[in-house]
């Protein structure tokens, strides 16, 4: 069974982005870029399934600019066997990415597609569910545990108020939550090995997908700032402020 894993190149987790002065977006020039943390968990899960002998090949896919190759090399250093880049300079929204992935699903026929539950840049939380709908596959989102047996997967999901377990028939889509696994550190020998792995490049046109954005960003602004508060010297003052100034208790 093949597994397809989607990885997105995003502004690094630790970077605090700035809004551009013309309010057209956020400034990502000269900012550190990394693999979306949830996607790293997705790659790790796929590689662990391969190590367990459940999966025969892990294919990492990234959609976007040429530099997404670096993200794919990271995925291959974690253990993906090969990479596919769908290269375009156009702004890609979740529906377009889901369509590109659907085209690759048709091509590669994976038993599972694993994606991060959301990207930490646009915070959309859409692509996995959209792919599942387009490919007419069942979905198990926000996974914290995955067990594959035969042609079924049992997935524990993080839901409001606790955990839920569902069984899905494969082929299926899984999206990862934070506690599914802890991705391994990539080692230098594996980074070197990853450089030699196969990486194919397609254009959206090659896959017959129109990626034109559906949603237009009119402006991007800084959020309203909270006015700075005060430091209180002791617990008694804090209780007094909460009771008599803020009146919240």
């Amino acid at each position: 069974m093949k597994v397809l894993v989607a990885v997105k190149r995003v502004v690094d987790y630790n970077v605090k982005v700035r809004v551009k002065s013309d309010n057209s977006g956020v400034d990502i020039a000269n900012v550190k870029m990394s693999m979306n943390p949830f996607d790293e968990i997705a790659v790790e899960e796929a590689v662990r399934l391969k190590e367990k002998g459940v999966v025969t090949e892990v294919i990492a896919v990234s959609c976007g600019v040429a530099q997404c190759q670096e993200t794919l090399r990271t995925a291959m250093a974690i253990g993906a066997d090969r990479g596919i880049l769908v290269e375009t300079a156009e702004e890609l929204q979740p529906l377009a990415v889901a369509k590109l992935l659907k085209a690759l699903v048709d091509k590669e026929q994976p038993g599972l597609v694993i994606l991060g539950k959301q990207a930490i840049d646009d915070d959309c939380n859409q692509t996995g569910q959209m792919l599942a709908a387009l490919a007419d596959m069942p979905q198990a989102t926000f996974a914290s545990k995955v067990e594959v047996a035969g042609d079924k997967a049992s997935v524990t999901r993080e839901v409001d108020g606790g955990l839920e377990t569902i069984a899905i028939s494969m082929p299926a889509v899984i999206t990862t939550d934070l506690r599914l696994n802890e991705p391994r550190y990539v080692t230098l020998p594996n980074i070197m090995k990853a450089k030699k792995k196969q990486l194919d490049t397609f254009k959206p046109e090659d896959l017959g997908v129109n990626v034109a954005p559906r949603i237009k960003t009119l402006k991007v602004v800084e959020p309203a700032k909270r006015s700075a508060g005060i430091k209180v010297p002791d617990v008694a003052t804090l209780v007094d402020k909460l009771k008599n100034v803020a009146k919240v208790i």
């Binding site: 605090k16 198990a140 108020g161 606790g162 934070l178 960003t217 800084e222």
Partner: protein, 314 residues
Amino acid sequence: MTSLVIAEHDNASIKGATLNTVTAAAAIGADVHVLVAGHNAGAAAAAAAQIAGVSKVIHADGATLEAGLAENVAAQVLALISNSAGNYTHILFPATAAGKNVAPRVAAKLDVGQISDITKVDSPDTFERPIYAGNAIATVQSSDAVKVITVRTTGFDAAASTGGSAAVETTAAATDSGKSSFVGREVTKSDRPELTAAKIIVSGGRALGSSEKFDEVMTPLADKLGAAIGASRAAVDAGYAANDLQVGQTGKIVAPQLYVACGISGAIQHLAGMKDSKVIVAINKDPEAPIFSVADFGLEADLFVAVPELVAAL
């Protein structure tokens, strides 16, 4: 032009997030219909009919809808949209685990983009939503015929749960997709208010040091204030608190009247989940902790001393 709100419910009652979503739908300006898709969910449908501002409730009832499986619920919503002959222009889900699970499936089947986590309605096609963990607010416009939207509940007040008198219409339940099935649920049993609905939240961070200390220090404070308990990602990752208590960009987004952060440094991802709280209190012994930059009242102190003292003083 009509908006369809997909209710979040437990078959017996309507969840609070539905009320905020109804307010967002009302802000669009169209009629508001509510879909209650469940099993033996008559009570939930009746409760939905009482919500102020709702003009019609559609109740789909069947075993296929009991567990809220995304495939079946999405099929139900799509059936309603196609039967409405273009009447439904806006489909709104609360941005909860359940809403986020289903909404994109509906959008993709309709071949429309989805607008996630809106915090404001500017016009029927233009919305505001936070991006980059709330470090920027984008105003976005959709040109699609049907707008599929998830609503960040902290961005909208709750609609009154009484005062309405909508008609309840029943419709046939969607058939089972046959591709997924519900196995079980482990719901955290708690007498405390639900995290996203609580008026007061006390939240603990990595400084608590262990699961035992987390309970020992945070529980009395929560009991005293009648508060829900939250946690930072660091505390959850370290195993001090359950996964569903995580407040932040990728956990729960909360906006209570009072948020008390104990031993939480205040990473941007955590602030993204709580900075819309009305009053924020930070208790931290590190004077440089970023949490102090958003706190209304900061107490620079060792939480193991200050929190019990606070419990005693309340």
